[in-house]
Each structure stands twice: as C-alpha cells, then as structure tokens.
Point group: C2
C-alpha cells in the first residue's frame, strides 16, 4: 500500500512515525506524532488508499479509530499508562480526501478517580474534520 | 495475518464474507454478514491479531469502526444507497478477546429528510460488548 512506503520527506517537520509493529495500530497506520511546546501532542496520518471509503475519502470508521487513538492518548502521552475507552462520541464536520494530512489532539476536561473525560478535535489544515469527546479509564500499572 | 486465512469452516452458519477488495473495509476486515428473517442483518468478525490492542483484546478503534460499518449499514442493507456518518456514539460495556466472534446490528429509530437516526448493539454470544447510536446521511444516487 502506498502509505506504507510513505517517504519521510512527505511528513511535516517534527513528526515521528509511531513504531507499532502489530495489532490494530499497525493495521490502520502508519500514524505520526509530534510534541507541542505546551506539553501536549498532535497525532496525524496521511490518508492512504487503505483508509478510504468508496468515495475515496477517509472512511468514517478510520476517523473513529483515529479519534479513539488520539483523544485517549492524552492520558498516556509522556508516560506508560494504559487505558481503555469507555465512551466515545464523534461529530463529523467535513471530509478528508485521499492524500490529505489529517491531524488531531485531545485535552483532559475532567478526572474522576480512574476516569478521564476528554475533548478532541481532528482537522486538515484550517478545516475542522471532526470534533468529539470521550471517557477513558486508566488501567492499573501491570 | 491469521484471520486472512480464516477457514470458512470457522465461520458460523449463514454468514458470508464481505468481498471488500480495497479501502478501509478490506484493511480492517475480513467482515461477515448474514440476513435475518425479519429483513435485517447481522455483521460480524472474528477478532484477529491485526485488530487487537496491547492487552490482546479487540482495540476500541476497531470496535468504533465496526460500529460505524454496522450501524450505518441498516440504511444500505438490501439496496445500493451510499451514506456518510454524521455523528456516532459508542458506549463500551465489555471487552472482546482475541479469537472471539463479534456480532452487531443496527435499527433505524428515526428519519428526517436524508438523515437517519440509528441505534445499534455489538455483542459476543450473550455478552453485550457495546451499544450506541448514530446519525447517518444518505447520499444522492450517483
């Protein structure tokens, strides 16, 4: 698949490829990440053929999965905590086309015990692609 | 990947493999479908390594994508209509482990112009894995 051979030169500066070698993340990837000066992060991917629907736009399921991996990651960014998704809501605002560079991030809006409430956004350039919120549960360190 | 070579003998009776040769559906699949006597359908997949998280359970993103493809399909079942996802909410009730057979379906709860409101459920055997609802928009026939 073309995106598997995506040259690093195609990737905006500051992004590193997430080295997921197995599982769902490797299946739907590659995904990229960069740190932001405020201690946050941006995750991203370039829409490849293997992520599209019949209209050659990014599939809604792919964006849902990206939302899950991106919004929830605010809990595990910079540490080794594991988490699971309790609830995820995504509103789709605009599409993302084949070849476009999609970015997203999340911020914690509340913590109650091991439950984190997170708001997130997904965008392409100046265009908001999706917004949403989620509840994620941090797992005990193993 | 093991699930790509999943023998038909492993698939519960009545299910047919969805012949998605490209795009997101092929990437995260294989998915299966059977018709139900009431004119509805059940979609399903057997959790493979390529759909798991680090805990070797089905990844939340995979279940989100499956919810999207399953809840929304109630609009396109038995016809050739295309649709896009406007909003999707999924509540995760229980996990699905590697090798388990996951099923799901959706039902229309409201129609307003080209917008369909759908409720859906995902389960493994007697165990509810997730419930949710979505708003999907039917596209003009091309």
């Amino acid at each position: 698949m073309s995106s598997d051979s995506l040259a690093d030169a195609d990737i905006p500066e500051g992004f590193r490829r997430l080295k997921w070698r197995s599982g769902y993340g490797a299946t739907v990837g590659p995904l990229y990440e960069r740190d932001t000066p405020d201690g946050g992060f941006v995750r991203a991917f370039k829409v490849g053929e293997h992520q599209t629907n019949m209209l050659k736009n990014c599939h809604g399921g792919m964006l849902m999965g990206f939302a899950d991996m991106t919004f929830g990651h605010v809990i595990s960014h910079g540490n080794r905590r594991n988490w699971i998704t309790v609830r995820l809501l995504v509103d789709f605002i605009a599409g993302a086309s084949l070849g476009e560079w999609v970015e997203g991030t999340g911020k914690v809006t509340g913590i109650d015990g091991s439950f984190y409430t997170v708001q997130g956004r997904i965008w392409v350039g100046e265009r908001t692609v999706a917004t949403g919120s989620g509840v994620f549960k941090v797992l005990e360190q193993r």
